[in-house]
């Protein structure tokens, strides 16, 4: 996926003068092609990711389309506050690319593992989270990200991942892709673990269990209509990701699932919305703004409790 990214961004950079590539001192030869045609739009920002992310926001706020690239933990948690404030709060169209999804760099140790990034970045207001499962999805996702007027986090693998999509699927941000049809059970996945998911589906098929496989390239915003369909149709649904079971795609789907009015969890979630509160005010004002008042909590509970 890494090489496909370099290849595609090189192509995009040649035709779109807004594309600026920022690298955190990695990908030495990877971007030679980009530099060959757009030297003035390539910046090695050094091992200084906080600054790199702020610089990207400044570029994005002035008409350019920066793409920030380094190893996943360093382009996410290392500079999280810059992502939150400079990029998301400003709604700056920065594309943040993390290479080394999940355990791609297992042998480098936990400093280079990336099993919390989806959870952490998806809670940022305005952030779109894309996890392509192969080079085909990556190229499509990168195009879509550039056409999207807002922050995007793209979590990609390393190199040598197998191609999943033999033909180019229709790709839209927020739209899941059905990788394999099946009638009995369903496996939902995101990102680089897809080959394992397909192998699992093969094992199930060998047992006579027809298995549908869905690629949720977009973790945020979640494709709710598709989830509705999958959870009403299949009795057993598995979610697989090379990421912590806390807060990733599985966590995200769980939040959606228990919030369904006719769902099994019957949980009503009170909290702040997925936005920055731009207007100022007192804490009481802010609580009211998000329905965090005794009156609203009681009224909502009553409405659910009393049969209509």
């Amino acid at each position: 996926m890494r090489n496909a990214f370099a290849d595609e961004i090189t192509r995009l950079g040649a035709v779109d003068p807004r594309v600026v590539l920022l690298s955190g001192d990695i990908g030495n030869k990877l971007f030679d092609g980009f530099k060959a045609h757009s030297k003035e739009r390539f910046y090695n920002c050094g091992v200084a990711e906080a600054n790199m992310m702020g610089v990207a926001a400044g570029l994005a706020l002035n008409g350019l389309r920066p793409v920030v690239y380094t190893i996943t933990p360093f382009t996410t948690t290392r500079c999280l506050e810059q992502i939150r404030v400079d990029v998301c709060y400003h709604e700056a169209p920065v594309i943040i690319v993390g290479t080394g999804a999940g355990m791609s760099y297992a042998e480098l140790g936990p400093t280079h593992h990336s099993c919390e990034d989806i959870a952490i970045l998806r809670v940022l207001p305005g952030m779109t989270v894309l996890c392509p499962c192969d080079a085909v999805e990556l190229r499509l996702a990168l195009h879509a990200a550039l056409a999207h007027d807002g922050p995007v986090y793209m979590r990609i693998g390393k190199k040598g991942e197998p191609i999943i999509h033999k033909t180019e699927p229709e790709f839209r941000i927020g739209q899941a892709i059905t990788v394999r049809a099946g009638d009995d059970v369903c496996l939902i996945s995101t990102g680089n673990i897809m080959p394992v998911v397909l192998a699992a589906a093969d094992l199930l098929e060998a047992q006579g269990v027809s298995t549908r496989v869905e690629s949720f390239t977009t973790v945020k915003p979640l494709h709710r209509e598709r989830l509705q369909e999958l959870f009403s149709r299949y009795r057993v649904v598995g979610v697989v990701e090379e990421h912590s079971r806390l807060g990733g795609l599985g966590g995200s789907i769980a939040e959606w699932l228990v919030s369904q009015a006719d769902g099994p969890g019957r949980m009503i979630s009170f909290g702040t919305d997925d936005v920055f509160m731009h207007e100022v005010g007192t804490q009481d004002y802010a609580r009211q703004r998000f329905g965090l008042t005794a009156e609203n909590i009681a009224r909502t509970m009553l409405e659910r409790w009393r049969p209509h």
Binding site: V20, E40, R41, Y43, C45, G46, A48, A50, N51, M52, M53, G54, V55, A56, A57, G58, L59, A60, L61, N62, G63, L64, P66, E81, Q82, V85, D86, Y89, H90, E91, H278, E279, V280, G281, T282, Y285
Partner: protein, 289 residues
């Protein structure tokens, strides 16, 4: 405080009438900040008063800006990286005409826009970056300066930092990167009032020698008296200064400047003035009630 001659700083002549007019504006801004703090309970008075002269010099003299066209492509960009100085910036932007001064009557109201830190550029004309967390503004400013270079524009970028803000590692990441990129149309001003929230900045983080630090990081450094309008106008007229380097202006200031009982007293980082104190302050500033 005695005027500090910059190491390389040779003042350029500025007309007395200009200096008098700007000093007068600065006195009025100070009075309005103090009144607003009292009325709305907004803190950081000391930090606001120390940077008033810098803001007035920048917005009323140096910056190429047009309040009628706040998003003009070629405008100079000013970033209040020390976001807690927003109560000062809000007054200056209104007086400069970016929005009606009457808007400030709603300062601190629920659902409004004016409180303790600058909102995003989408929410208030004249703002280039929403700040409040220290150590962000300079990097964003670098991105803006690089944008100008990439797109063949000649606007300048100025970021105002606090001395406490120089604690942040990201500031020094930005310092090295800007120097590597030789961004000579980028400048920072450090409002060096020698205090941070809870202590002397020299004692908390060994900030001195600050100008030499910036010089060592590859910047063209200047030291001025941050309350001497003549020195400020003069140094701000040197962006770029021909050195090919980004410019660091260390402006020596006094926290709480302009009001005797607030000057160099760090209690005014958080204290809110009483009505009697507002009246006393305005008398000292020579601003009518």
């Amino acid at each position: 405080m005695t005027a500090i001659a910059g190491r390389k700083h040779v003042p350029v002549p500025v007309r007395d009438t200009v200096v008098d007019m700007l000093d007068d504006l600065a006195r009025n801004v100070r009075a309005r900040i103090i009144e607003t703090s009292h009325r709305t309970g907004t803190p950081h008075l000391g930090s606001c008063l120390s940077c008033v002269d810098i803001l007035v010099a920048a917005y009323f003299h140096t910056l190429r800006i047009d309040p009628a066209a706040p998003r003009d492509r070629d405008r100079d960009r000013f970033i209040l990286s020390k976001g807690h100085g927003a109560p000062a910036l809000f007054q200056v932007l209104a007086m400069r005409g970016f929005y009606p001064e009457a808007m400030l009557e709603h300062y601190g109201e629920d659902g409004g826009i004016f409180a303790e830190h600058p909102p995003t550029p989408k929410h208030l004309p004249g703002i280039e970056a929403a700040t409040g967390s220290l150590g962000h503004g300079l990097s964003m400013g670098i991105g803006m300066a690089l944008s100008a270079r990439i797109q063949g524009q000649s606007y300048r970028v100025v970021a105002l930092l606090s001395d406490g803000e120089n604690n942040e590692g990201s500031v020094w990441e930005a310092a090295m990167f800007a120097a590597a990129q030789r961004l000579d149309r980028l400048a920072i001003i450090v409002d060096f009032n020698r205090w941070q929230a809870t202590g002397r900045s020299e004692e908390v983080m060994a900030i001195n020698p600050l100008a030499k630090k910036w010089r060592a990081f590859g910047w063209s450094e200047y030291e001025v008296d941050g309350h001497d309008m003549r020195q400020l106008l003069s140094v701000l007229s040197r962006i770029p200064d021909g050195s090919g380097r980004p410019i660091a202006i260390v402006a020596h200031t006094i926290k709480g400047r302009g009001v005797s009982f607030m000057e160099d007293d760090n209690n005014w980082h958080y204290r809110i003035p009483t009505a009697a104190e507002v009246a006393a302050a305005k008398r000292e500033l020579g601003v009518a009630s």
